[in-house]
Symmetry: C2
Subunit: 359 residues, 2 copies
Amino acid sequence: MNLEEVAKLAGVSRSTVSRVVNGDHRVSTTARARVQAIIEQYNYHPNAAARSLASSRSRIIGLLIPHAVNQIFRDPFFPVMIQGAVEACSDADYNLTLLMETAADARITSDRLYQRVIRGRHVDGLIIASSVVEDPIVARLQSEKFPFVLVGRHPRHEVSFVDVDNRSAAREAVTHLVDHGYRRIAMISGPRNMIASIDRYAGYVTALQEAGRLPEAELTIYSDFTRRGGYRAMNELLANPGGLPEAVFVASDAMASGALQALRDSGVRVPDEVAVMGFDGLEETLVSRSILSTVMQPTSEEGAEAVRVLLQLLDSPESAPIQRFLPTRLSLRRTCGCNRDEEFEMTAVNATIEGELDV
Amino acid sequence: MNLEEVAKLAGVSRSTVSRVVNGDHRVSTTARARVQAIIEQYNYHPNAAARSLASSRSRIIGLLIPHAVNQIFRDPFFPVMIQGAVEACSDADYNLTLLMETAADARITSDRLYQRVIRGRHVDGLIIASSVVEDPIVARLQSEKFPFVLVGRHPRHEVSFVDVDNRSAAREAVTHLVDHGYRRIAMISGPRNMIASIDRYAGYVTALQEAGRLPEAELTIYSDFTRRGGYRAMNELLANPGGLPEAVFVASDAMASGALQALRDSGVRVPDEVAVMGFDGLEETLVSRSILSTVMQPTSEEGAEAVRVLLQLLDSPESAPIQRFLPTRLSLRRTCGCNRDEEFEMTAVNATIEGELDV
DNA sequence: TTGTAGGCGTTATCAA
DNA sequence: TTGATAACGCCTACAA
C-alpha cells in the first residue's frame, strides 16, 4: 500500500494524498475525508525511506555517547537523560538513534561512525552527551555546519547547548555549607577533563573565596562520578593527616552515596562530624527517601530540552547558537546539617523510614 | 557527491560504483581501483535514505523498552545490555534506535509508535527488552511476521529470544544455600508479571523441593528489582513474626544491595545470622569489590547476541524461531557463607578494601 | 483546490 | 565484467 494506491482508491492524485498525510491545509474537506477514509481502511503509513529521500530529512536524531563517557554510562544520569530525549523525539515524530564510540579503538570506530552517520545523512542532527574538553568532534561538526547540541556547555566553542549553571549551583551549595559554619570544606570532584566537573569545582572555589578562604590542595580529591570512586575519595580524605574536614561537597550523588558509605564504615557521624552535600538529585532513585542534601538538576528535562533546541536548529539552520540553562534547586535534607529535628521525629514515628533515610 | 558523480569522475557507470561500494566481487581490479580512488578523494559516502528505498532495508534495528520496564530503566541491567546491543549493531553497520513506550498513555503512544515505526518500515526488526507476560505486542508482531527477538524468553509464544536459564541458575544458587545448611530460605522476588521473575522464583521452588521442603508463603516477598524495593522487602522479612530466615535469595543485585543495607541498619550480621545470594553480577559496577555472592549473567552479551540473532532472522525470514540461552556462573563471595577466611585476610591487609567489601 | 511530472540517490534486473 | 534502465515511494514546484 502506497501513496499511489491510496490516490487511486480515493479517486484523487498522489499530491492530494501527500497533502493530507502531511497536514497541508490546501485540501478540500471532501477530498480530505475521502482520503482519510481510505488511509484508515487500508491502514496506510508512509514509507520512511521514501520520505527521507524526497525531503532530504530523515527525522532521525543521533545521540552520541562519547567514549570518555562510556565507562560511566551506568551512572543513572544517562538513562534518565536519554529517557527525556527519547520522549521529546517521540512527541515530534522523530526517532532517536544511539551512537556510542566503542572502547575497541575510539579513534577508528568514531571516525567510521562519523562517516556513516553524518556523511550518509543518516541523522538530521546530533545530541552529544556530556562532552569532554578535548573532544575533537565539536570542532569538526562546527566546521562542517552540521546541526548539533551539547548536553553540557563547551568552554571553547560558540555552540548550542543545554546545561545547568553548574558553577552557580555549586557555589550556592558550598555557600550553604559555609553558612552552616563549617570552615574546612573539602570537595570530591569528577574527572578533570569533564566540563561539568570543572564548573562545579569553580563554583566551589568561588564560594570559598567569597567566604574569605582559599581551597587547600589536599582537600580536593579527583574521582570519576561513580559510587565506588566516591567511596575511595572519602577514604582518602579520612586518611588525610591534616584531620577531618568539617564538610564535603561531592560533585555527584553517586559519589556522595559512596562517600556516606565510607563515613559510616569508619564510624564517622553525619552531619555531626562531617557534613555532606551532593549534586544531581538522582539519589532518590536508589533509596526511597534519601537524607542526602544535594543540588537537584532536571536531568530528564535536559535531554528533552536538548532535543527541542536541536529541532529548532533544524528549522532555521542559519540561526545563531542556542544556549539554555535549566534551573537547579538546592534540596536541603539532612546531611548538610539542616533538619536535625525532623530526623528525630521520623525516627520516633517509624523506624523503617528512619532506616531508609540512612542512605 | 553521489554515485552518479563518482561514476563520471571514475569513467565508469553508476552500477560499477555501486558494486564497488557494496563489495561486489564482479568488478575488475582496475575499475575498482579507479573508483576507490575517487571515493576517497571526494570522501563519498552513500546516502542512507536512497539505499533504504532502493533496497527496502533500512539497516536500522529498533530496541523497544516496554512501558512496564520503563520505571526500572535505571537498573544497571538496561544500560549495560543496550551497550552490548549498540556495539553489535555497529559492528554490522547497523544502527540502533531507542523506542520507549512513554508513561503518558501507554496504549496510545505504543500504538502510534508501532504504526510509525513498524508499518513505516523505519526499522528492519525489533529487539524487545525484558517483556512482561501479558504484553500484547509479541502476539501482534508474530502474526504480522515482523522480525523480532526478545531479551528474555516468552512463556506462551514460540518466538526468538536470547536469555539465560533463569530457572536453572536460580535453582543452582538456592541449592548452594541449601548445601550451606540453611533451612529457612526466603526469597525477594521481582514483579510477578515479568518472566525473569517467574523463572527465578520457579528455580527457587524447585531447589527447595529437591531439598525436601516447601516454600512458605510469608517467606516470599514480591518487589520491583530496585535497591529501594530490596530494602523494603528485607524489612518486611525482618518484621516477620516467624523469625529471621537463615538465608535470602534475592532476584537482583540492586535489590540485594538494598537488602544488605536493611540488614546492616538492623544490626543483623551477614552471613552469620542471615546469608544473602543475589542475581545479576552487576553489583560490581556499584562497589569496587562486592562481597555479594550472586549469579553472574553476561548482560552486555545478551544485548549483543540478541542483535546477532535478529540479523540472522533478517537474512532468512522464513527460518524457525531462534532461541539461545547464554551461560550463567555462580559467583561465590562472602554473603552466602563462603570465604569467611578470606574476609579476615583482606581485613587484616587493608582496611579500605575491607570497608569497600561491606557493600 | 487539484493534478502533472520531475527528481531524490540508490539497488536490481537485464542485456551486452 | 560492464552499462542501460527501470523501479523504490514520496515530495514539491509548477501549471491548471
